[in-house]
């Protein structure tokens, strides 16, 4: 009898070392990445000894189906990681794991195609955007879970194709993007209701009624937002417009657009470095990441190792960005490490098929 343990064993160490001329890392870093077309989560370690896919964790329900391990988020205290499984019969699920031993701790039902997950700073609330990528174009929701018991407290109807949710540092609001409604939606974490919504269509960037969940955008100015990153001081929101190659900087207080950063094709995910200096944006259509210096808005393009660059997460020391690249078909995807000071690709490691959601677990300085 085949056992899943076969896939759970520690993978062979295929380490790649940092590029010549770069300062080697002084710490070890770990990330988790969800491989959507393998139903495997990879644990990747990067450090002075190079980078390796340290562990493969089998997930999913039906071996004869792809359940679609899509979104992955790690709690701020680093004790748990959460995974969204996009497909079910018909609804997806959200699973909770312990970090380290990677044991499944709990699970909960979600909506159609749960994707990105945002977590409150205290780790108590998890927001899963029910993307409903392939269903009818009807308003979908953000499921809210109480994480100690992984129970759904609410399904907040937001818009058509919600994606890319994040909670601000204060824990007061959750922000998500709406690919088809072309909106930014703000949810109050106390009321668990939509507080405000902003149209992102060019020329129509204005607040909308909070109940405008079924609005659909059309025309040339469509943003097609895919993500929301929150600045370190909670004052700004960064929304990649996947459909028109720019990132919007939005004032979180007024929801007014303050700056526009032109990017390459298909800006997709984004993260802000903890020191507040960098905004790193994956460019799904350009096989690259764009590193913006937020003080000046200057962009440096860093090519990645495989096409369909997807997820990005910055390390707590603001030194590196870990980037997932889906690749195409039979070719395995990769996780790249980008040095944010040098603006260079440091190293890469092959993981499984279609890596997407990526979450940072921990760093440990070397003695």
């Amino acid at each position: 009898m085949m056992t899943r343990a076969v896939l759970g064993v520690v993978a062979a160490l295929v380490a790649a070392t940092p590029a010549v001329g770069q300062t080697p890392p002084a710490a070890d870093y770990w990330v988790y990445v969800a491989n959507e077309s393998s139903d495997i989560v990879s644990r990747v370690r990067f450090g002075p000894d190079g980078i390796t896919e340290e562990k493969k964790i089998r997930v999913g329900i039906l071996p004869a189906d792809l359940d679609g391990a899509h979104g992955l988020s790690v709690s701020r205290d680093g004790r748990h990681w959460y995974l969204s499984l996009a497909h079910g019969n018909p609804y997806g699920q959200v699973w909770k794991f312990a970090t380290g031993n990677d044991r499944l701790m709990d699970s909960a039902g979600a909506g159609l195609f749960p994707a990105t997950m945002g977590i409150s700073p205290d780790g108590g609330l998890l927001f899963a955007s029910n993307f409903n990528l392939h269903g009818n174009h009807v308003p979908s929701s953000v499921s809210v879970y109480f994480t100690p018991q992984m129970e759904e407290l609410a399904k907040v109807t937001t818009c058509v194709m919600p994606h890319g949710g994040r909670v601000n540092r204060a824990g007061t609001f959750h922000y998500s993007a709406c690919m088809m409604s072309d909106q930014l939606v703000e949810i109050s974490t106390r009321e668990l209701e939509v507080a405000r919504r902003l149209s992102l269509t060019r020329g129509m960037e204005q607040l909308l009624p909070v109940d405008a969940a079924d609005a659909m955008a059309m025309g040339d100015g469509i943003c097609k937002p895919t993500w929301v990153a929150v600045s370190v001081d909670d004052r700004h929101l960064y929304v990649p417009c996947n459909g028109r190659g720019e990132v919007l900087e939005i004032d979180a207080e007024t929801l007014g657009v303050e700056r526009r950063f032109a990017t390459g094709k298909g800006p997709y995910n984004a993260d802000v470095s903890p020191d507040g200096r960098f905004l790193v944006v994956s460019l799904k259509g350009d096989q690259a990441v764009a590193v913006f210096e937020l003080a000046t808005g200057r962009e440096t393009r860093v090519p990645t190792s495989q096409p369909l660059t997807h997820g990005v997460v910055v390390t707590p020391d603001s030194r590196y960005a870990f980037v997932s690249n889906e690749a195409i078909g039979h070719t395995r995807g990769t996780v790249d490490v980008v040095d944010l000071e040098a603006k260079e690709l440091v190293t890469t490691v092959e993981v499984q098929h279609q890596p997407g959601g990526i979450g940072f677990w921990k760093m440990e300085p070397r003695p």
Binding site: S37, N89, L112
Partner: protein
């Protein structure tokens, strides 16, 4: 299917005063968390929680320390185990209290937790205790008595039926209806409702539930039956073969008496393991001699059945095998190409990167030759189907890098080297799990909408949408998994909604191939309806169930084959089953009275489904062959791990795809003696 929850207690309803229920328990202060460490027990007031549906109850929680003293000022929460109750904290108004509403009738539980410090300036929840809660249904308002199923002849016995209805017009979830007779000299009735009519006269039955009663007076007439015949009086048969007894009840003039309740029984004289149904159908699982009895009033008749064993299972012979060792194999299709050679096409699944369909020459099935493969942008090629004249094929795709999956059409002008000649992804972006070809029409299972898309492939280079059908349009809570059609009806495997039958040209309900019309459906409690295949009056419906509590443990599929009698297409009835214990059914094929099942970890199963089917086919010895499709060496993706996906009989052999070991060609000699 849900995996287990690590903590059984579920939905949390916690507090933020009068704010909406759905909110979090904020982290307590450091002092509150430290205080939480002193809590060792909890009790509630009232001590026993019981309420009616719709009622509200005030619940007070009292936390105690090791000495039994009350501890106040902690941060605690309440979790409910199910949706039988709703809960809202009112701690801001009334200390340590919740409001609890009864929502759905039944027994449930809730638990009390307290916050304690963790090791990183945060908190964790410490469970204290759990308590039962009972929600009673709405009160019974009336008892509805059904019309008797048979004529009330003196001397007969049969069950009566009644329902307890609530004051909301719903059937009470638990109320028990008890019966009594007010005229026991005419008829008695058990508390459960089995009535025995002893002599002519009027009898009044009373059915009661929770103090509500209903009365009905029936007239019992003299039993007109003067003669009872059972035929055949003696019969020989085999296990699994159904014998129908013809019972004739005649009056004094030799006329048939209608509507009389007959009571059947079966008794093993030298064996055990036979069943007789209320329609007089007999079937045995074990050989031996059985006595069948039938009564009608005071008359009784007997018959004897001598049951012989069926022909024992015979070996399944291995003819050939080939398969990729670097990727999982999915479905298969075997056919004769326009060049006169035989081909098998097999799909590939996720492990190893399932982005291709393999082309095998199986003209000499003992020497399978890999000829080619078709590569697509995807990570799963789940299904492969070839049209009737083998001029084109369709493969389904999932995991495309563009996230536009849909179907891909192959040109089979050169079947050894098929080429892509068309695709359709619009409105099929999620992927198509399975397809079935009906002439130029393709029925496609849409992973995203859970609808059946109907595609027009009259021009296979330019496939087009031709229609769509789904249950409950506009609702999302449904899951379509497979479709099979025979040109008259389509059979949709709709997971927890069971088997759905559509008229696609049968002429019975007005359906056409592109505009189907619903005919009927049947579902069963376990759900997970995964696949269907019809032959004769039966549709063979398979479950797919994956239950595992351990992600690192072995795969353990479950589920079996339900045999659905569709001789009355409008009223499908489940009449039999085939279940290999501790294994899980996957795809099936039926041909000439033989059912072939790819039974996941149980390999190929060959089952005699000839004749009439009743009962448990496995126990009746109808399995006539089996083969474990596992490789012992490293020539497959995984060795010693059977995971059969799909079977197809072809030119006297049985082709089977196994996820772990690829393509198998097997041979099983058809038994000379099948059921009539």
């Amino acid at each position: 299917m849900q995996r287990r929850l690590v903590f059984a207690l579920a939905v949390l309803a916690v507090c933020l005063g009068s704010a909406p229920v759905a909110a979090q328990v904020p982290q307590g202060t450091a002092a509150q968390l430290e205080l939480g460490l002193t809590v060792t027990g909890v009790r509630i007031e009232p001590e026993a929680v019981s309420m009616s549906r719709g009622d509200t109850l005030l619940l007070t929680v009292i936390l105690t320390d090791a000495s039994g003293q009350r501890v106040e000022g902690t941060q605690f929460g309440l979790a409910r185990a199910s949706n039988h109750i709703d809960v809202q904290s009112i701690k801001d108004s009334i200390a340590d209290s919740y409001l609890m509403w009864g929502v759905n009738p039944g027994e449930s539980a809730f638990a009390i937790w307290v916050q304690i410090p963790d090791d990183s300036a945060g908190f964790q929840w410490k469970p204290l205790d759990e308590f039962g809660v009972m929600v009673e249904d709405w009160p019974v308002a009336q008892v509805d008595m059904m019309d008797p199923a048979f004529e009330t002849y003196a001397g007969t016995t049969f069950p009566l039926e009644a329902k307890a209805m609530t004051d909301h017009g719903t059937e009470h979830f638990a109320a028990e209806v008890t019966w009594r007779s007010e005229t026991p000299s005419v008829a008695t009735v058990t508390p459960g409702g089995v009535a025995s009519f002893s002599q002519p006269g009027e009898v009044t039955f009373v059915a009661a539930a929770e103090g509500i009663t209903a009365r009905r007076t029936l007239r019992v007439v003299e039993n007109p039956v003067r003669q009872l015949d059972i035929s055949p009086g003696y019969v020989t048969t085999r296990t699994g073969d159904v014998v129908h007894f013809d019972v004739r009840a005649l009056d004094g003039r030799g006329r048939a008496v209608q509507g009389i309740a007959l009571t059947y029984g079966v008794h093993g004289l030298d064996s055990a393991g036979a069943e007789i149904y209320t329609d007089g159908a007999f079937v045995a699982e074990n050989p031996g001699t059985y006595k069948v009895m039938v009564t009608a009033g005071g008359l009784a008749q007997e018959a004897i059945v001598a049951v012989e064993p069926r022909t024992p299972a015979t070996p399944v012979e291995l003819i050939g095998r080939h398969g990729p060792s670097d990727v999982t194999t999915s479905d298969l299709w075997v056919f004769t190409g326009n060049d006169g050679r035989d081909y098998a096409y097999t799909g590939t699944h996720a492990e190893g990167g399932g982005n291709r369909m393999y082309v095998w020459d199986v003209t000499d099935p003992a020497n399978i030759e890999l000829l080619d493969s078709v590569v697509v942008d995807g990570r799963v090629v789940n299904d492969v189907k070839v049209n009737g004249d083998a001029s084109w094929a369709i493969i389904t795709r999932e995991g495309a890098s563009t996230r536009r999956n849909g179907v891909v059409v192959l040109d089979l002008s050169t079947p050894a080297h098929p080429t892509i000649m068309g695709e359709l992804t619009d409105s099929l972006t999620a992927g198509i799990h399975n397809v079935w070809i009906n002439g130029d029409v393709v029925y496609a299972v849409n992973d995203g909408t859970n609808a059946m898309n109907i595609l027009d492939l009259s021009d296979p280079t330019n496939p087009k949408h031709a229609g769509r059908w789904e249950i409950r349009p506009g609702e999302e809570d449904k899951s379509l998994h497979d479709v099979w059609a025979d040109g008259r009806y389509a059979y949709l495997s709709y997971w927890d909604d069971g088997l759905v039958i559509l008229d696609i040209g049968a002429g019975t309900h007005g359906g056409t191939p592109t505009n189907p019309v619903f005919v009927s459906s049947i579902k069963y409690a376990m759900g997970n309806t995964h696949t269907a295949f019809r032959e004769g009056d039966y549709v063979f419906v398979g479950d797919e169930i994956m239950e595992s509590n351990d992600l690192d443990g072995p795969l353990s599929p479950r589920g079996y084959i339900h045999v659905i009698d569709v001789s009355d297409i409008g009223t499908p009835q489940e009449v039999a089953r085939f279940e290999v214990p501790e294994a899980g059914a996957h795809n099936v094929w039926v041909e000439n009275g033989i059912l072939y099942i790819a039974y996941y970890q149980a390999g190929l199963r060959v089952v005699d489904v000839s004749g009439e089917l009743r009962g448990d086919l496995y126990r009746q010895g109808r399995q006539i062959g089996w083969f474990e499709t596992a490789v012992r060496d490293d020539s497959g993706l995984h060795s010693n791990a059977t995971l059969a996906w799909g079977p197809q009989p072809f030119k006297g052999n049985i082709f089977v795809s196994d996820m772990n070991s690829g393509l198998w060609v097997l041979h099983h000699e058809r038994p000379a003696e099948l059921s009539p």
